[in-house]
């Protein structure tokens, strides 16, 4: 008996703080939020609240403003993930082919990661100024100078949901493509050179080499990138807040709406929005975790 404690005791002791902190700050607070979302606590007033079941959720899913924010989020996520993957992979491919001064390019591509979203949001807010023609400023001014007038547009301030959210995704893509590039570059570098040589000896063209030998090796990295980008897009708040300000119907996503709701002390509704966001993240992450667990048990 004494011996067994010796075996698992120290390990448990080391883990205990993590388990306690995680239990309280993550799972405990999720439970607390969920509990709040089932009540009628719509003011900051203290005191007992009544349970109303899933009424808050029912109200959310019949409310135009919330449904609009969900649709915005969907479009933003698609634009952001596709854009970042394309640019990340493209840059990784270019660097992987070998260029002089690679480390310089690597730093340039990775640099945006070092800037906080709120700071880049402020700058992109200016760049995405919707004035056109003579009054053009920001990116539109640049297009004007380069005689690319046809590229000028109103960015997020007019047009369809797609043009709006694509404009918002632009800064996010700029910021994270470098990170995805680093992931893919590490993946390329991790592939043993023998594989390439063997493929070349077998007479594979460059295209076939990438298509059948290299890309399949990168699929686990692509999957992790997808998960990372997916959950980041759900959390995008600072960037949108900095570019458009609060209460901007066109670009509102659930994270911003939750902030607005909390500002007016509607705690039950804010908690319900938080739980919906958590559920959306779970839809993304759970299949990934299941996949990884299955992969690991196979090995």
């Amino acid at each position: 008996m004494h011996g067994r404690i010796r075996t698992w005791g120290p390990g448990a002791l080391v883990l205990l703080p993590t388990v306690l902190l995680l239990g309280y700050f993550v799972y405990g607070l999720i439970a607390w939020s969920f509990n709040t979302s089932l009540t009628d606590r719509h003011t900051a007033r203290k005191g007992p609240a009544n349970y109303v079941g899933f009424e808050n959720y029912g109200n959310l899913f019949t409310e135009e403003r919330f449904l609009n924010s969900l649709k915005n989020l969907g479009v933003l996520t698609v634009a952001f993930i596709v854009g970042t993957l394309i640019f990340g992979l493209l840059w990784a491919l270019l660097l992987e082919k070998g260029v002089p001064g690679e480390s310089v390019f690597r730093s340039i591509y990775l640099f945006p990661m070092a800037i906080s979203m709120i700071a880049s949001g402020v700058v992109w807010g200016w760049l995405l100024n919707p004035s056109q023609g003579e009054d053009a400023r920001g990116l539109n001014r640049l297009f004007e100078i380069l005689h690319l007038g046809f590229l000028e547009n109103a960015w997020w301030t007019a047009g369809s949901r797609w043009t709006t959210m694509l404009s918002i995704a632009l800064p996010a893509i700029w910021q994270l493509s470098g990170y995805i590039m680093a992931l893919f570059l590490a993946g390329f570098r991790g592939i043993p050179p023998e594989l390439r040589e063997a493929a070349r000896v077998d007479g594979a063209s460059e295209f076939k080499l990438y298509r059948h030998v290299l890309f399949p090796q990168l699929s686990p990295i692509a999957l992790s990138a997808l998960i990372i980008l997916g959950h980041m897009s759900l959390k995008l708040f600072d960037l949108i807040y900095a570019i458009t300000g609060p209460n901007q119907f066109r670009t509102e996503v659930p994270a911003v709406y939750m902030w607005n709701t909390l500002l007016r002390s509607d705690q039950a509704k804010a908690a319900a929005i938080a739980i919906v966001m958590l559920a959306v993240v779970a839809v993304l992450v759970i299949p990934y975790v299941a996949y990884t667990v299955r992969q690991e048990s196979k090995e």
Partner: protein
């Protein structure tokens, strides 16, 4: 074990507080730090720079001589026209750690705090400090909720002011010194300006600036009594007169700059000053901005927005006595300074607003304020929703969302029903 955990929690909490205060405090006063020094009076505001900070500093110097027993602790949170500060304040209040006193817009916006039981009745202080006689009855009526008053205003601002550039107006042979008599007359003038080659004669910025224009149009078209009724539930938002007014707002928007969703009010004012636009509608804090930017008096004119002459659409910053706040005696001394003639003079001459007291001497104030003070005495006082006098935070939040939606895709029927629905929430 327990002690260890609570210590860890305290550490994490402290880190969180640090993070929050690091976000915006120019003068980090430690927010709702520990009450070790019971002489501290923590004053929570969103006045962190510009004329606002100068005004606060002015009031602090009066506080330092009047209330020698206490120490002023600045707990200002910058940014977002107070929305960041309100979020921090809500957290502190929720956590049961209110500051000694906090800034809040007088009027309906205070209802949020009153309903949540977070502020105390200060009616007694009005008698004690003689404020019941110094403030106009009109204002006191506006501040009273169920027979009680919950805050002491430090200043009064006017919302319905149009600022114009006479040089630009001359291009279309318009007289900059006189306001158009109505919204229709204004639209006619705007049309002339556009014909004279000014592409966006009416400069406007995002969010609350558009809300202020909507309010100005509603006030002009419905008249003060029906306008006030919109906010207290006596006027029907679905009425035909509201539809007509909103249609005129839609027309006004066609004369505005295309980057209205991307800029703030100082930029819109810049368009007027630089001659790109003829008019902008903004509250009278513009006067302080023009002074700060050294724009000469002769370069701009101002008048009550068309059709609203004789109405003073007000908003007021006020200070409260939070329930269970730290150092209530010190807070009362701050409130006394807030309401006093000296305190209001020190504050308002710098912030570009006018004193709420009606016994102030106009000669102490710059040119614009003298005009505003005369109007404050004789005009009908009407509240503004954009700045919390007429509606609650929640209602304002919904209204702003509806107006931003309208700016992108103008649909009058949709805007009208959204505004009506917003006022039904709390």
């Amino acid at each position: 074990m327990r002690g260890g955990l609570s210590k860890t929690l305290a550490l994490v909490g402290a880190a969180g507080l640090l993070a929050v205060s690091a976000c915006g405090n120019s003068d980090d006063g430690g927010g709702s730090g520990d009450a070790a020094a019971s002489k501290d009076v923590t004053v929570f505001t969103w006045w962190a720079d510009g004329g606002e900070k100068a005004g606060l500093d002015g009031m602090v110097s009066v506080f330092n001589t009047e209330c020698k027993d206490y120490k002023f602790v600045n707990s200002a949170v910058a940014g977002g026209a107070g929305s960041n500060a309100k979020q921090v304040l809500a957290n502190d209040l929720q956590a049961g750690k209110p500051p000694s006193t906090f800034q809040a817009h007088a009027g309906a916006e205070l209802r949020d705090y009153i309903n949540a039981g977070q502020v105390d009745d200060v009616s007694g202080l009005y008698k004690e400090f003689g404020l019941d006689k110094a403030f106009p009855q009109n204002l006191i009526d506006n501040l009273t909720v169920d027979g009680k008053i919950y805050s002491i205003p430090a200043n009064v601002h006017r919302a319905n002011v149009v600022w114009a550039n006479p040089t630009v107006l001359k291009k279309a042979s318009l007289d900059g010194t006189k306001a158009p008599a109505s919204i229709d007359a204004w639209i006619a003038d705007l049309t002339k300006l556009k014909a004279a080659g000014v592409t966006a004669p009416l400069a406007i910025s995002k969010g609350f600036a558009q809300e202020m224009l909507v309010e100005a149009v509603l006030l002009a078209e419905l008249g003060p009594d029906k306008f006030i009724g919109l906010w207290d539930g006596k006027t029907d938002w679905a009425g035909g007169d509201v539809t007509a007014a909103l249609n005129k707002y839609k027309t006004l928007l066609t004369f505005t700059n295309s980057d209205r969703e991307a800029i703030d009010w100082p930029d819109a004012l810049g368009y007027v000053n630089s001659g790109k636009a003829g008019y902008t509608l903004m509250g009278d804090w513009v006067a302080a901005q023009q002074l700060a930017d050294k724009v000469p008096d002769t370069a701009y004119t101002y008048w009550p927005s068309p059709g609203t002459a004789g109405n003073f659409q007000y908003l007021a910053d006020s200070f409260t006595l939070p329930t269970n706040g730290q150092n209530p005696e010190g807070a009362k001394c701050w409130l006394k300074v807030t309401g006093s003639a000296d305190g209001q003079k020190a504050f308002n001459t710098k912030k570009g607003s006018i004193p709420a007291r009606s016994d102030a001497n106009p000669a102490d104030y710059p040119k614009y304020q003298q005009v505003a003070m005369a109007d404050w005495k004789k005009d009908k006082i009407v509240p503004s929703c954009a700045h919390g006098a007429a509606c609650t935070l929640g209602q304002n939040n919904d209204i702003l969302s509806a107006i931003s939606q309208f700016s992108g895709s103008p649909d009058v029927a949709k805007l009208q029903s959204a505004l009506g629905a917003a006022m039904k929430t709390s």
